[in-house]
């Protein structure tokens, strides 16, 4: 059976070169970068090299990069860390309704601690309107946190415009760029952001590798306190191997960004065309153009996502879904809901992310399989039967 992964947002293989870069730091150059003796030397240099490569990918000063163990950690450090350090200036934070849970859930906690939070709405494509941000900012606002791109629907936010609005009011701007870095050009200086989160595993680096860019002068409090690693912003013996992997992944991503993006977009566009041509009653979720190149998100009317996902899995095709049954919290995608996608279409949503192993030649197979699966499930769907009855009556 063919094996076709279309769920590279959930997880992707570590790039071969990246893994090679990492391996020696486990058992060979295993020293602690903080050691005063020579065993610390090579690991320390590896950290510095990684810092430069990660900084290079986003146009930052290497000294502004704080390594973390995930994008979730970077997001928590950025938002809670900034809120804690700056609460005397105000206790209002603005975000969007389509953020990742690692932003939204910590804001719930901050609310309980006396902060107020404004969740900006998005349009049908998932875009935040800068005018809404302008309206939301008050004298109490200390932070705006809006994602660079959405991991589920791929929509790319107008960060530069949003930053301009925040800067007019002297408000610090954080962007969760985990779904963007490595796939679209991101330059912290051109965008003007003060903080930016990224995740190594989103561009073929290892899981458990992330980073937060914190512009010089922006004060945040550490989540993990202890030693003064990462300028005191993140205690704990540095994870040299994974950081080296993150750095190498960043180096390669910077080099190959355009090529990767073009390849992914070409595949994604062809797949979309093929699916929409062959299968009736599909709907595109997210923006038709302003989306990360590897992301496709569709809703298959009348059927539920987990059932689709399972049947596709049996056909060797891996996807994910925004249905409630596939979510950890048993709620259907808050992102699709924020876009105004009707509940039954949110339940039938599929997220397809192109990755390194996807071939244009596989598109007919994927299309055929999804067509089959959709038709099997529609045939047992009360919603589909009802639709067909109504269509008949109307005819």
């Amino acid at each position: 059976m063919k094996k076709i992964n279309l769920d590279y947002t959930a997880a992707a293989p570590v790039d071969k070169e990246v893994l090679e870069k990492m391996i020696p730091f486990f058992s060979e150059y295993y020293g602690n970068p903080s050691s005063g003796h020579s065993l610390g030397e090579i690991p320390r240099k590896a950290l510095q090299e990684a810092r430069e490569n990660v900084a290079g990918l986003i146009g930052a000063d290497p000294a502004a990069i704080i390594f973390t163990a995930s994008a979730s950690e970077a997001n928590n450090l950025a938002v809670k860390g900034f809120a804690k350090a700056n609460m005397k200036k105000g206790k209002h934070i603005v975000t969007s309704s389509v953020e990742h849970f690692s932003i939204l859930n910590q804001l719930k906690t901050l609310k309980k601690e006396g902060f107020s939070v404004t969740e900006l709405p998005v349009d049908n494509y998932g875009l935040v309107n800068p005018a809404d941000l302008a309206e939301a900012i008050t004298d109490q606002t200390i932070l705006v946190s809006i994602q660079a791109a959405n991991p589920e629907i791929g929509t790319i936010q107008p960060i530069k415009e949003l930053v301009a609005v925040a800067k007019e009011r002297d408000v610090v701007f954080h962007t969760d760029a985990a779904a963007a870095v490595g796939w679209i050009p991101i330059d912290v200086q051109k965008l003007g952001v003060d903080m930016l989160s990224l995740a190594g595993d989103q561009f073929y680096g290892p899981k458990g590798s992330g980073a937060l860019f914190v512009k010089r002068g922006v004060r945040v409090m550490p989540l993990i306190e202890g030693g003064i690693q990462e300028k005191g912003l993140r205690a704990g013996t540095e994870n040299v191997a994974l950081v080296a992997g993150l750095g190498e992944a960043a180096r390669i991503a910077a080099e190959q960004l355009e090529e990767r993006a073009e390849k992914a977009a070409a595949f994604r566009d062809r797949l979309k065309e093929s699916l929409f041509n062959s299968i009736p009653h599909l709907q595109l979720n997210g923006h038709p153009e302003k989306r990360v190149p590897r992301n496709l998100n569709i809703s298959v009317s009348f059927v539920e996502g987990e059932a689709l996902l399972m049947r596709l899995d049996m056909a060797g095709i891996n996807v994910s879904s925004g249905s409630s049954c596939t979510s950890q919290a048993l709620k259907s995608s808050h992102v699709l809901t924020a876009l105004g996608v009707p509940p039954e279409l949110a339940q039938g949503s599929l997220q397809l992310t192109a990755g390194p192993d996807n071939k244009i030649e596989d598109i007919p197979y994927i299309t055929e399989q999804l067509a089959d699966v959709a038709s099997i499930l529609r045939n047992m769907s009360p919603l589909y039967h009802q639709y067909m009855k109504e269509a008949k009556q109307n005819a």
């Binding site: 059927v303 539920e304 249905s323 049954c325 048993l330 259907s332 047992m380 919603l383």
Partner: protein
């Protein structure tokens, strides 16, 4: 999905008794698309027994397997027997369901009972 038992997978992959009976004696519907699962059961009754049963299901793997299982369990049973089928029994027959699926997807017995009640209400109305 890997948490599903083989029996669940077997019913999900090859669900029995799919469809909608024409002119059913009873019909029962539970759930809605917001919660993610929806089942519609139709039954034919003869001599107080469920002679035939079919269902349509919008829902996850568990919901589909549960519908299929219920239809098999119900077929041939007297109405009183069928009314005693519980969601818990259905889950047991399927060799268990993942904890988080016990509530939201395990509504097959409810739908069946609704169909039986629908039939009984009609019979009562006719008599």
């Amino acid at each position: 999905m890997p948490e599903y038992s083989d029996k669940v997978m077997e019913h999900f992959t090859k669900p029995r008794n799919i469809g909608e009976l024409e002119n059913p004696d009873g019909m029962g519907e539970v759930g809605n698309p917001v919660c993610g699962d929806m089942m519609k059961f139709t039954i034919k009754v003869k001599d107080d027994r469920i002679e035939d049963v079919k269902y349509l299901t919008f829902g996850c793997g568990a919901a589909i397997a549960v519908s299929s299982m219920v239809s098999e369990m119900a077929k041939g049973k007297t109405l009183d027997e069928a009314m005693k089928i519980t969601n818990k029994q259905v889950a047991e027959e399927l060799n268990g369901l993942p904890g988080n699926k016990m509530h939201c997807s395990n509504l097959g017995a409810d739908a069946l009972h609704k169909a039986i009640e629908d039939y009984r209400a009609k019979v009562n109305a006719d008599s």
